[in-house]
């Protein structure tokens, strides 16, 4: 028995009214973060406790700069999606939930912009 309207099938958004966009982007950023985080951990460990000259020299080369920018974008995108689910699960009050999610998303965006700007300022 066909339970869904043709329009509903075409839109493909389901009962969540949001489709699989959130779920899919959470996985896509997760997959991207696997090599990025392994590279990041190895890089940081190898220059643990480095001074200003060493860290800026490292970030001045194109590969570390580009990879750090990709890591920053993927990290804060992934964090915003994950924290959204946590807030949706634990904040029951509808208005408070809306405000909490909005504040969290703006904070993640601001942190991502700050990280990317800092990397570019050192690299360029």
């Amino acid at each position: 028995m066909k339970m869904r309207s043709s329009l509903g099938r075409v839109r493909g958004l389901g009962s969540a009214k949001d489709g699989v966009g959130h779920w899919w982007l959470q996985r896509l950023t997760a997959v991207a973060l696997v090599p990025l985080v392994l590279w990041f951990a190895a890089s940081i460990v190898c220059q643990a406790g480095g001074d200003h000259a060493a860290v800026t020299a490292w970030l001045a080369s194109p590969f570390p700069a580009i990879t750090m920018i990709l890591l920053s974008i993927a990290t804060f995108y992934h964090a915003a999606l994950g924290l959204q689910v946590v807030i949706e699960d634990y904040v029951n009050h509808e208005g408070l939930r809306l405000v909490a999610i909005a504040a969290m998303k703006l904070a993640c965006f601001a942190l991502g912009v700050a990280a990317v700007f800092a990397i570019l300022k050192i690299a360029l």
Binding site: A41, A48, G49, V55, A79
Partner: protein, 135 residues
């Protein structure tokens, strides 16, 4: 919704979390979410470190001083474990998303593998890191 919840029939409720005996599966699931939140909080230090590096040697020395203090190193150690745990258990989740590894035996085996791998990677990272710092 809210009015229905307030005046509707009292339905039976599922027992709350503390009723259940902790199992590897539930503990790792809770830890995955907790480390995700902790990692995000920890990115504040990472962004501080990056912005300080961009700002100059003075601000960078302050950030480096905090991270190098006993409190900073304690946070960094926790953050390292959270990072490796969330990474390893996240890979486990990606296998589940692909429809693989759902047999109970496999779920426990992959769970213990995550515990061993994240613990091992944390110790390894700190041994190499402290060695790099000393040299």
């Amino acid at each position: 919704m809210a009015t229905e919840r307030a005046t509707g029939p009292s339905r039976p409720m599922s027992p709350h979390l503390q009723i259940y005996r902790p199992q590897l599966t539930s503990v790792l699931s809770i830890l995955h979410r907790a480390t995700g939140v902790a990692l995000t909080v920890g990115t504040l230090v990472l962004v501080w470190w990056l912005v300080a590096a961009a700002a100059g040697p003075g601000p960078f020395a302050a950030a480096r001083g905090f991270i190098g203090s006993w409190f900073g190193l304690l946070i960094l150690f926790g953050w390292t474990f959270a990072l490796f745990f969330h990474l390893c258990n996240g890979i486990r989740h990606l296998f589940w998303d692909a429809g693989l590894g759902f047999e109970l035996k496999t779920v426990y085996a992959s769970g213990w593998a995550v515990v061993a791998a994240s613990g091992g990677l944390t110790v390894l990272a700190w041994i190499v890191g402290l060695f790099a710092r000393g040299s």
